[in-house]
């Protein structure tokens, strides 16, 4: 059997903002298919920048990022859009169109698969509507298909946004602080959904979290970021209290 190929590769990635602030510093990272990687670190350490570098919502300054072996850094036009559609993303603030129905929101996950003119008329195929419905079934919100997004609770909105990402048929799901604005119960619900997607559908998950307990509970691998630098990378088993403290404070404990 052939050796599995990495799904995300960072090679000497640097990001320097136009105001001189260093976002990412020489990041090397290789993620294999099916991993559940949790990025931890302080606010402003560069976790969100790292996420947005993967699907190039933010451009990097130097280095290369490859998705399934294909460089997204060098991709142009259509090619970039086609790589992006392989990467689903969920956000801290859900980023749903609040005035639109759940179905319309979930279907937007599909836009990358259509020619522009078809999309201007909103012509989604019956097959894709079915796909959207199945994604809603996965997060157990199929009874909300025609509900307006702003009628849902925060936790439900986040699960709709997971369904939107799933409808993309992605290889990877990026989750940028997905539970930061949710209460503990809905947090568990959302994290369980992500774990199920990871284990049952084999979709690679790259998520950044504030909460260390959750990181250790759900992750298979921890990546620690401090001041734009990768300071830890290893399986959850290796991430003991001292290691975590070091990621957050930069000091050895005891």
């Amino acid at each position: 059997m052939a050796e599995p190929k990495p799904v995300i590769e960072f090679e000497h990635v640097n990001k320097i903002y136009s105001n001189g602030v260093v976002g990412l510093k020489d990041i090397e990272l290789t993620i294999m298919p099916g991993e559940f990687v949790v990025v931890v670190g302080l606010s402003g350490a560069g976790k969100s920048t790292l996420m947005r570098a993967v699907n190039r919502l933010h451009d990097i300054s130097t280095g290369d990022i490859r998705i399934d072996g294909e460089s997204i850094t060098k991709a142009r036009g259509k090619q970039l859009l086609h790589i992006r559609r392989k990467i689903g993303m969920i956000f801290q603030n859900f980023n749903l169109v609040k005035r639109a129905t759940v179905l319309k929101n979930v279907l937007t996950g599909r836009v990358g698969y259509y020619p522009t003119w078809k999309m201007l008329f909103g012509l989604f195929s019956a097959e894709d509507k079915q796909r959207a419905y199945e994604a809603l079934q996965t997060v157990e919100l199929e009874d909300k298909v025609y509900t307006r997004a702003d009628q849902l609770s925060g936790g439900q909105q986040q699960r709709v946004s997971i369904a939107r990402a799933l409808t993309q048929s992605p290889r990877i799901i990026l989750a940028d602080e997905p539970i930061a604005s949710l209460d503990p119960q809905t947090t568990k619900r959302v994290m369980d959904d992500l774990r199920r997607i990871n284990q049952e559908l084999g979709i690679t998950v790259l998520i950044n979290l504030h909460n260390v307990e959750l990181a250790l509970e759900y992750g298979t691998r921890i990546v620690g970021i401090r001041a734009g630098e990768k300071v830890f990378d290893g399986p959850v088993a290796d991430a003991d209290a001292a290691t975590m403290a070091q990621i957050y404070t930069g000091q050895e404990e005891g």
Binding site: L96, V97, T108, G109, Q168
Partner: protein, 257 residues
């Protein structure tokens, strides 16, 4: 400890004095004395009494021009709004990030907005001749300027989150506009178009005065013939129609927002 004394706001008082003096002075140099209004008050009451006895027999002749006025307003509003929609996206800073493009097209929009509608009407009556076409063109340009500004301001207040989400899904610029921008602003747009229509119905009655079609033409004729009974009738009809349109459009807009 004594309560701290506030410094006397010299600047505020000086500015107020300058403005009040300026107002009085401008009244004098423009010869606008309140006395003049009362001097001719007798004439005014005479006309007013005439207008209070509308020439009902003239009613059938008023309907045609009134409908023409409304038609002008509808077509003018429609053309102006349809042009304003793509233009507003072009000058919204959160859609087009190129500062030069935004700056240039905003400058053009501002110029369009500074031209008074009466001047546009006078111009187009001269260009395309007396009739409703001049009125429609005037209203279209007037609407374009007004709705264009209201609309790009609405676009700039939308939530950027959905734009980022749709972009992350692999959407191009037009698809982002279609799925993340449009659903957020569609209601505002309809509301502003109705608002423009309300204004245009009122404006188009006056435009006719310059020969740009509609009831204004008849109003001008009646006035120049001193037929205040007919003027009274037309004012009444305009009043009822404008009131009805404002009411319906106002209720619709309330329901939309």
């Amino acid at each position: 400890m004594s309560f701290p004394k506030r410094a006397f706001p010299w600047q505020k008082w000086v500015m107020t004095a300058v403005m009040v003096l300026g107002l009085i002075w401008s009244a004098f140099i423009t010869d606008a004395h309140i006395g003049k209004f009362f001097e001719n008050f007798g004439e005014f009451t005479k006309i007013f009494i005439d207008m209070c006895h509308p020439d009902w027999a003239y009613t059938p002749y008023v309907f045609g021009p009134m409908v023409e006025t409304i038609k002008m307003a509808v077509i003018g509003t429609l053309i102006g709004s349809l042009l304003a929609f793509p233009y507003a996206l072009l000058v919204a800073r959160n859609i087009v990030t190129n500062k030069v493009v935004v700056g240039l097209f905003r400058f053009i929009l501002n110029i369009v907005r500074t031209v008074p509608d009466l001047m546009l009407a006078a111009l187009f009556v001269a260009v395309v001749g007396i009739g409703p076409v001049a009125g429609v063109i005037t209203l279209a340009i007037f609407t374009f300027g007004m709705v264009g500004k209201l609309f790009y301001e609405a676009v700039e207040t939308i939530d950027p989150g959905p734009l980022e989400a749709v972009r992350a899904a692999g959407a191009g610029k037009l698809e982002i506009i279609r799925f993340a921008v449009f659903p957020q602003i569609a209601n505002y747009f309809v509301s502003y178009v109705l608002y423009a229509f309300e204004i245009n119905v009122r404006a188009s009655t006056v435009l006719g005065y310059l020969g740009a079609g509609g009831i204004g033409v008849y109003l001008q004729q009646a006035l120049s013939m001193f037929r205040y009974d007919r003027v009274g009738l037309m004012v009444l009809v305009i009043f009822i129609v404008v009131l009805a349109i404002d009411y319906v459009s106002g209720k619709t807009r309330e329901a939309l927002l």
